[in-house]
């Protein structure tokens, strides 16, 4: 790890001023930043510690039934907040399907949004990576692409965003609150992460010094609470990132779908909202046929990296199936309690969750 200066600001304004200097990075729990600094992928020379700042660790209920989540709220605390889990069950399930209990205890909401891709070439300074070093090339393209993006990728970068949490947040129109050198503003989570295009080093719309202060979910997002799931397919049962995942949230009245929200994870450099798929479901009776049509619409533009036979072509079929499966699970109703293995497709079959 390179050496760095450690700064512990007393106020948000001091934090923003300190981080606006080139080469600075905010430090939250460090579960992603310190990891990436250990590999040498990231080499900030100044860390601005957010964890002692006041006022960023609260979950506040809003008059409209929505919620404001401070950027330093820990992933586990949010997921285990009973009120939060009952109003936004897919978000709680996504949080609990990610990482491990230890990591969730540490990880913050802001850090989860800002975590970097798990593409191994990004983490490895000996690899070419346009995201890490602009113009250096991409060792994933032409190499092993099994876990790479199927949507929104470019010739410069095929990395995915690894967060589970962000997937239902995108589905439910979460808003990110930002404070920066020029004041405060807010951005829909859907617009927060950027697709790579020819500038993959730009990962989010944050400018130097910009601090995420919190996240908001509006009260109308809680209208989906009776039919909300997050399902995730991974290479091992637990403590693994998603190969593909989907959040599905429905409202159903008199046997008819009246509103639908769908987003996919593990497929692109951002959580992928599927609005065309949502529209197809309005007015339909829940069932395999409309669910499969919605899944096809969600993946209509998907392409494997390196042509039709690319290593990650299987992810297109897999993503279609996880969307269908998540819709089916959502239609069946949110379980009274988050399943023993959150986000798993196994438990519903009565199979043991852990082999």
């Amino acid at each position: 790890m390179n050496s760095f200066d450690y700064i512990r600001p007393a106020t948000v304004a001091e934090a923003i001023a300190a981080a606006a200097e080139p080469g600075s990075a905010f430090l939250a729990a460090g579960t992603n930043l310190i990891d990436m600094m250990k590999t040498g992928a990231l080499r900030p020379y100044r860390l601005v510690d957010l964890t002692h700042l006041p006022g960023l660790s609260d979950v506040e209920w809003l008059a409209d039934g929505g919620v404001r989540i401070g950027a330093l709220v820990r992933n586990a605390d949010l997921a285990h907040d009973p009120e939060f889990a009952s109003r936004f069950p897919a978000v709680a399930e996504a949080l609990l399907s990610g990482a491990s209990a230890q990591l969730r205890n540490a990880a913050t909401v802001g850090g989860n949004l800002m975590q970097r891709t798990r593409c191994r070439h990004f983490a490895d300074p000996a690899s070419a990576c346009n995201r890490r070093v602009p113009g250096s090339g991409c060792d994933a393209i032409g190499g092993e692409t099994r876990t790479c993006a199927i949507l929104g990728h470019s010739e410069a970068c095929v990395a995915t965003h690894p967060s589970d949490f962000c997937v239902p947040l995108a589905a439910l129109d979460a808003v990110v609150e930002i404070a920066g050198p020029t004041g405060t503003r807010e951005v829909p989570l859907e617009d927060f992460h950027l697709l790579p295009g020819d500038r993959p080093m730009l990962e989010t719309m944050l400018e130097p010094g910009d601090l995420i202060t919190g996240l908001r979910l509006a009260g109308d997002a809680a209208a989906f609470s009776a039919h909300s799931r997050y399902l995730k397919l991974r290479d091992r049962t637990s403590y693994a990132f998603a190969l593909v995942s989907a959040a599905a949230c429905l409202t159903i009245e008199a046997g008819e779908i009246t509103a639908a929200r769908i987003a996919l994870g593990g497929v692109a450099a951002k959580p992928w909202r599927a609005k065309a798929a949502e529209r197809l479901l309005i007015g339909a009776a829940p069932g395999p046929e409309p669910f499969w049509r919605a899944a096809e619409a969600a993946l209509a533009d998907a392409t494997p990296v390196g042509g039709p036979d690319g290593d990650n072509a299987f992810k297109i079929a897999l993503a279609g199936r996880i969307v269908t499966r998540a819709l089916k699970a959502a239609a069946a109703g949110t379980p009274a309690r988050i399943p023993a293995l959150p986000g798993s497709v196994h438990v519903a079959n009565g199979d043991p969750a852990h082999a």
């Binding site: 430090l27 491990s100 205890n105 049962t237 852990h354």
Partner: protein, 166 residues
Amino acid sequence: MTYTIHLTLNGTPREISLDDPRVTLLDLLRERVGLTGAKKGCDRGQCGACTVLVDGRRINSCLALAVSLDGADVTTIEGLAEGDSLHPVQEAFIAHDGLQCGFCTPGQIMSAVGLIAEGQTDGDPERVRECMSGNLCRCGAYAGITEAVLDVQQQMSETEQGRKRA
């Protein structure tokens, strides 16, 4: 530059001066204060061998910067037993053969103590396995580990019921 931090380590308040902010909590414990119980398996958050409690919560000490934890209360495996009497989770790991080589064990035990305090698993072996998934065991002692956790939870709920009856 040196950074002075205050930690409570296994109940004892300590003032620690760090000549380098790069020191993780794990390296501080192992290399600087002689508490080598927490193990360094991967140093990347991927194995759980370094699990300790910070302010009563289990975390991976390999990914936490010590300087950032100024003011925290840290409990390691060395802080569990009272003199010669082992903590109930330590007893249960022995009773249920929850270990072979023992390398992962301090992390497993600290994780189990954290899990019990979190109170999310209520006697369901599936939930225990899921909530212990952040601790890998290369010897594969998982079956005994799960039984040990369930056993301690069972004992605790019996004591609790006994107390209510009394």
